[in-house]
């Protein structure tokens, strides 16, 4: 920034010192490759006199003999040259790669990485674009310590970003800022063209995020898009194509095994559901053996292309690009397409004024998997009878409901063909800004930012007929149209100056944001036709959600000799989300650092320590992710009461209001050490953090005497503490043509609930309703214990005999001989639970903590090497010490109704004396065998080869021969995503997204219900640069 100020100043001053011995020096500034550089600042050292190179890179300046010229330009290494007697000085400047990487975007400004006192991770555009992804969020995986990504595997499916673990019960998404413009949701990242991104900075500790005040608690992701380099016109073209698939299948019963299974369990069948299969002892499935999982899965295709053009001069710079991405899912009838266009430009209009703009348009379209009747596609694929054909000879869909047995799973091919879920999403984000240089070191920037999206949801469920009883005579059409518009104005006043060795930078910001979301939805059911896609005479409703935010921010950065570092910041937010008394919040932060290596301690040199920095930070941020007008209850008008024979509107308060509602507050501490050895060829950093979130919003139970209809009020009652360590290690090596580096990180985030309610008698909250299949809750919050731990019984095996039940729990607990107050009744073949409290019966009191879905640590290793034209890179990501509740076990083994199951049921308990781990078939509801227990808990640790790329770039001689000067670079590559996954987890994929409740509050994490596997991807691509 300082350089810019200086540059602009000299652009305008135009006054030379006309002294006696003055003469003119001229010359040309070029890069190492010979290309000329316009816009280079040239300054006579110790004066205010200078000039700038023109479009051809030439300059001329009046100098004295003993003057020294300073040549500087952003991104290039500054050079000082003594004039001497020369009249022509040509300069070759070098790109300052190191320096480029070392600037960190910290929100409302930039900062040198070397003097940073806060926890910020930077991911370069090159890393992000290493392999094609549906959205930028996915590309963040494994790229920064403490940043965790989960994606649900379906194309265009939600990508969840968690920074330093989960520390709220509500929305834990980080704030996303693109070129200073706030997006609404981290999910909106998917409409940003990854190849337009120059870099992403992830702000992790409160001292970094406190500048975003009431929105900083979950961390901040700052995306900077590229805007061209003066003097270099570059055209980059990328195209790629490939396939994705998964060979994972559950081993389920085939037709013979299934029919045999039905005949065996018919003995226990209470309601004759399998009778017709039994009634026809010759029924053998008519030779049909449908593998329903194979019908659901397919090999999907991926393709994409990007073009990016950038360039500039000393008057301005620009960048624009288009991008297309198209991916078929590995389930039939799923797809995601994305198209982007972006254009950025910046120009100097006056001596001290610079204006610029960013604009990005995105369109995406998603065909998502159909969840039919609350059942995931995978559930139906497992449970369908194998003797049913997909289609019969006459073209009708086969149906399980053809009365042969009680199986009610639905034909998934029929479901996908008769139901369309199409969501298209169009977005615009952009800004225009002006930068005024007021005096040296003092600049004012004003920016108007806009983010808008338009979403079209189209769901059609068409009437259908099947061979069995299942049919639907009506066609249902559901449509939603949403519009979101956010406008923001940011005014920034920056003063940066150095006094001797004192460096000072002061930033003052005033910002306002105005948002409005509106939605119209309409619905129709008709039996007239299944052909139409639009609605006539539907039922409609609409709503809108406005929001306003108004803020001030002040920040001071001070350092002495880039050795002793201090940063102080304070933000004041005023938000419409809260009641008037609580609208204003103050978010302070402070951080200090000491660059020990600058002290010149001898022992550091002796140990080859090139960099050593210690830092500490403390700050307060907020999380304002609560619903609109959550503090005041609305008036419902549907408490009808008949008066005078007519039913009249009756008004009553809809839920409880909490006039004291405020944002969640996170106090975060960070302590870090950064080390560089052997001229920074080895780098390491360690951060320790303690995040204490207070006043987390929970629907707290209230006294029913309050009359509050919901029985709960959203209150700031929860406290959660997250502690963790992040370690990053890197090694760079260059030996001749062979260059390689390896980089890795490991992070822990231990989240513990500290408080749940103001009422002392409420010591736990049971969450995680996954019904079907479970009527009980799966997870629990309790003070002193990990967030969302699994809560249930401990399975000790399967009772081999009735005698074993008697021996364990006594006669009274035997199902065939029920006694009073005996708790759950068992018999031989049932799951045996541990009597935790030792009272001789199994009751709900015997439930305990049975698993922790929060990992011990997560890690990633990134390796890359290149030799001449060949390059290889590899990214391994992993999670260790994590429990998953595998609800698929219920799909595969529950055996309390008629469905197809895993071949595991072939070894189920069948007669007294059987010793097995699979309980008997038990045709009842509320079957204790299927109660939430350790039966479902598995270790979900894994290591995954997320990316493997091998590329080859044609050498320059060849290019020169083939294309003359037109083509600068040609690279071919092949790559694979998710090629290898090492895990003991029995489900398809151990990477599980959280389970959200209807109110947006997380119900549980690490719960696998019919999760689609991450596909294995193979892609071949071509990159050309002109």
């Amino acid at each position: 920034m300082l350089r810019l100020v200086v540059m602009l100043f000299f652009l305008t001053s135009g006054l030379g010192n006309l002294h006696a011995q003055q003469r003119t020096v001229s010359g040309k500034v070029v890069l190492e490759d010979g290309s000329t550089v316009p816009g280079v600042n040239i300054l006579i050292k110790g004066t205010n006199t200078g000039t700038v190179t023109d479009l051809d890179g030439t300059y001329s300046i009046n100098v004295k003999e003993n003057d020294v010229l300073i040549f500087s330009f952003i991104g290039l290494i500054t050079q000082e040259v003594a004039v001497g007697s020369r009249s022509k000085i040509d300069i070759a400047m070098q790109e300052d790669v190191q320096n480029l990487q070392e600037v960190v975007v910290v929100g409302y400004g930039e900062q040198k990485k070397a003097t940073l006192t806060t926890a910020v991770s930077t991911i370069t555009g090159d890393d992000l674009n290493e392999y094609p992804v549906a959205d930028v969020g996915q590309a963040l995986q494994g790229r920064a310590a403490g940043v965790n990504i989960t994606n649900n595997g379906s194309p265009g499916g939600r990508t969840l970003i968690r920074i330093r673990g989960l520390s709220t019960f509500g929305d834990g998404d980080p704030l996303v800022v693109v070129d200073g413009v706030f997006l609404e949701d981290s999910e909106d990242l998917r409409n940003i063209n990854p190849s337009s991104i120059e870099k992403i900075d992830v702000l992790k500790d409160a001292a970094a995020t406190a500048v975003y005040g009431s929105r900083g608690a979950n961390g901040v992701i700052i995306v900077s898009t590229s805007r061209g380099t003066p003097g270099k016109t570059s055209v980059k073209l990328k195209t790629y194509g490939g396939i994705q698939y998964s060979n994972q299948r559950y081993d389920v019963l085939n037709t013979d095994q299934y029919i045999q299974f039905l005949r065996e369990i018919a003995v226990q069948d209470n309601d004759g559901a399998v009778a017709s299969v039994i009634a026809d002892p010759n029924f053998d499935g008519d030779g049909i053996n449908t593998n329903w999982q194979d019908e659901l899965f397919r090999t999907g295709h991926t393709r994409g292309a990007d073009v990016n053009v950038s360039g500039g001069s000393n008057k301005g710079r620009y960048s624009f690009g288009v991008s297309a991405f198209d991916q078929e899912g590995i389930y039939i009838d799923t797809r995601f397409e994305r198209y982007n266009f972006n254009i950025n430009s910046e120009g100097n209009v006056k001596n001290r004024v610079k204006i610029g703009q960013n604009l990005s348009l995105g369109h995406s379209q998603r065909v998502s998997p159909v969840v039919w009747g609350g059942r995931e596609p995978l559930y139906n694929a497992i449970a369908l009878p194998p003797y049913i054909p997909v289609r019969t000879a006459d073209g009708q869909f086969g149906s399980s409901l053809d009365s042969r047995d009680g199986n009610d799973a639905v034909n998934i091919v029929r479901v996908t063909e008769t139901q369309d879920n199409l969501n298209s999403f169009n977005s615009i984000y952009g800004n225009v800004y002006a930068d005024f240089q007021i005096i040296d070191g003092l600049s004012f920037r004003t920016q108007y930012g806009l983010y808008a999206f338009f979403s079209n949801q189209n769901d059609i469920s068409r009437a259908f007929q099947t061979t069995g009883r299942a049919s639907q005579s009506e066609t249902f059409i559901n449509k939603g149209r949403s519009q979101f518009l956010s406008q923001q104005i940011t005014n920034t006043l920056t003063y940066g100056q150095s006094f001797a060795k004192h460096n000072l930078n002061v930033t003052l910001v005033q910002e306002s944001q105005d948002k409005n979301f509106s939605n119209v939805s309409t619905f129709l059911s008709t039996d007239l036709t299944s052909e139409l896609e639009e609605i006539v005479n539907g039922t409609s409703e609409s709503f809108s959600i406005p929001e306003k935010l108004f803020s001030y921010l002040g920040r001071i950065n001070y350092d002495f000799d880039e050795r002793y570092l201090l940063q102080l910041s304070l933000r004041r937010d005023k938000s419409s989300k809260f009641p008037e008394a609580n609208q204003v919040g103050w978010f302070p932060a402070a951080s200090v650092g000491w660059i020990v290596s600058k002290e010149g301690f001898g022992f550091l040199n002796a140990w080859n320590v090139s960099n050593l920095k210690v830092k500490a930070s403390y700050g307060v941020t907020g999380n304002n992710q609560i619903g609109f007008n959550a503090f005041t209850s609305a008036i419902a008008r549907d408490f009808f009461y008949p008066v005078d024979g007519q039913v009249r509107d009756g008004a009553f308060i809809d839920g409880g209001n909490n006039p004291n509602l405020r944002w969640e507050e996170a106090t975060k501490q960070n302590y870090g050490v950064e080390v560089g050895l052997w001229n920074n060829s080895i780098t390491a950093s360690v951060d320790y953090f303690i995040n204490s979130s207070e006043g987390l919003l929970l629907n707290d139970r209230v006294s029913s005497s309050s009359g509050i209809l919901s029985g709960t009020i959203a209150r700031n009652v929860g406290d959660v503490e997250v502690k963790g360590v992040e370690i990053t290690l890197g090694y760079n090596k260059q030996k001749g043509d062979f260059q390689w580096n390896v980089w890795g990180n490991i992070s822990t985030a231990e989240a513990t609930v500290r408080k749940l309610s103001n009422s002392t008698s409420i010591d736990q909250i049971l969450l995680g309703n996954l019904n079907p299949p479970f009527s009980e809750t799966l997870t629990r919050l309790a003070p002193g214990l990990p967030l969302y731990h699994f809560f249930g019984y401990v399975m000790e095996g399967v009772y081999s005999t009735d005698e074993e039940v008697v021996e364990h729990l006594g006669e009274a607990s035997l199902a065939t001989n029920p006694g009073a107050d005996a708790g759950i009744q068992f018999q031989a073949g049932d799951v045996r639970f541990r009597d935790i409290n030792g009272d001789g019966v199994i009751t709900a009191e015997d439930r305990t903590v049975i698993g922790d879905p929060n990992p011990d640590f997560t890690y990633s290793i990134n390796f890359s090497a290149n030799y001449k034209g060949l390059d290889v890179s590899m990214l391994i990501t992993g999670v260790q010490g994590v429990d998953i509740l595998n609800a698929n076990t219920w799909y595969l083994q529950s055996q309390d109704f008629i469905a197809n199951f895993s071949t595991d049921v072939l070894r189920r308990w069948q007669r007294p004396g059987d010793v097995t781990d699979i309980p008997r078939f038990r045709f009842v509801g509320n079957n204790s065998n299927n109660f939430i227990s350790t039966r479902y808990i598995e270790d979900g640790s894994y290591a995954r080869l997320k990316n493997l790329t091998i590329g080859y770039s044609l050498n320059e001689e060849l290019l020169q021969r083939l294309f003359k000067d037109t083509v600068g670079r040609v690279r071919f590559y092949v790559q694979s995503q998710n090629l290898i996954t090492i895990t003991n987890y029995s489900g398809f994929d151990p990477e599980i997204e959280p389970l959200y409740g209807g109110d947006g509050i997380i119900q549980g994490i690490g719960i696998d219900r019919g999760r689609q596997p991450q596909p294995v991807t193979f892609i071949g691509g071509l990159q050309v640069e002109f």
Binding site: P546, S576, Q583, P642, F652
Partner: protein, 497 residues
Amino acid sequence: MKYRIYHIILFTILSLTWVSCTEDVTLENPNQLTQDTFFESLQQIEAAANGSYAQLQSSGLYQRFGYIIPDSFSDEMQSGGDANFITSWSFQLTPTTPQVDQYWTTCYRGIAACNFLLGGEAKMRERLASGGVDFTEADINDAIGQGRFLRALYYFHLVRRFGGVPLIVDNDNALDIPRSEEEQVWAQIKSDLRAASLNLFEKGSTEEGRATKGAALGLLGKAYLFNQQFDSAKFFLDQITGYSLLPLEEYNDNFNESGEFNDESMFEVVYTGEQDGSQWDQNGRGLGEVTWHAQEYTGWANIIPSQKMIDEFEDDDPRLQSSVLENGDSHGPNNSFTWGGGRVWYKFSQLYENEQTQENGDTNARLLRYADVVLMKAEAELRLGNSTMAIDYLNLIRDRVRLPRYGTDEMDSRGYPVNNPDQIFEALMHERMIELCAEQQRYDDLKRWNMDGSEITVDDNGTNRGYNADIHRLMPIPQTEIDANASMTPADQNPGY
């Protein structure tokens, strides 16, 4: 330099001016009405009043437990075995019994609805004073009268079942309220009803279904009777005008659907009988409001008249046929149907008009009728020493059903002489039990007379019902309330639970 300083000042001013214009971030809710903006029109005021009635329709009150609980406590009833009745009938309610919680919660939701209406009074009067509104002083008074009547009614339901309960009269101060003394609750009830009696319209001057002056006075008299303040009871009951006892020919109109809002009826909970799928957890919300009274008492026979109840009827009392059905009895329009479902209650059964009972019951619950007022007046006069007046009132009830008057040889020979206050009281007890049977009066009458312990003893089979007046006069406070109410501890539970 001057030029530069000027620039700084300019920019600072520019940004600051811009700031001051937009600092206000408060927004109005475009989707729903809020408490701030409510009470702007007569429609809204009436809607708040209507919403205050709606909780009476809920399953916690007159869809089910409002009659199940007090009726099954009484000696009028023999259990039919249904779980919803057997726990209360055999006095096995615990703090976690769902019906206890539902009854409690429903009453308090009703109170919150009333408090919402009453809390808007200042806004209504303010807006009336500043003009341009479509409502009048009288509209406000009527709405406030209804709110106070209904709040008293909900507290009346609470205080008789739970004793001293949290007293909440302001929604802004409704969380974590400790239990009050029982007298404070009664004082609130009486104060609300006095105000209601001054604000409300007389029956006929207001719409059918709304609370009236007469209803407020009747309930107020009853409250004083429960507090043994007989002079006050008499004072307010005597002010009731405009009601009459129906002739015997129309007596069934007190219990059937076609006779709703008759001249004897003083307050009813209105049901439309429309089902909207929410009837298993009816909470006052939505269009569908049904009462299951007919199914519970008649169709399913979950609770039936006890032998003691049947025996109490004089042989020639026509009220027996209006109240109870036995096998072979005829019922329905012109007695065109014959009953074969065993001994059941006829009152409120739908069978006056239909062959069978249905779940979507639309017979209004009659909470107060003039016969009760007449009997309360008799009781007040008796307690105040005016035996003649007491007997005269009792005989109004006798005259209507064309039975011999008290004080005649006939009645003396039937065992009901009225020669001294004790004997008159015996007659009063008899008359209330018969006239108001299965109308949720008997158990509280017994409690009021301190006779519950001696009357509620054994069932039809001679088995002890387990009633202990020291414990069961009050139900347990729901555990959910004790858990979630920061001002309550387990020590606040009623004794014995």
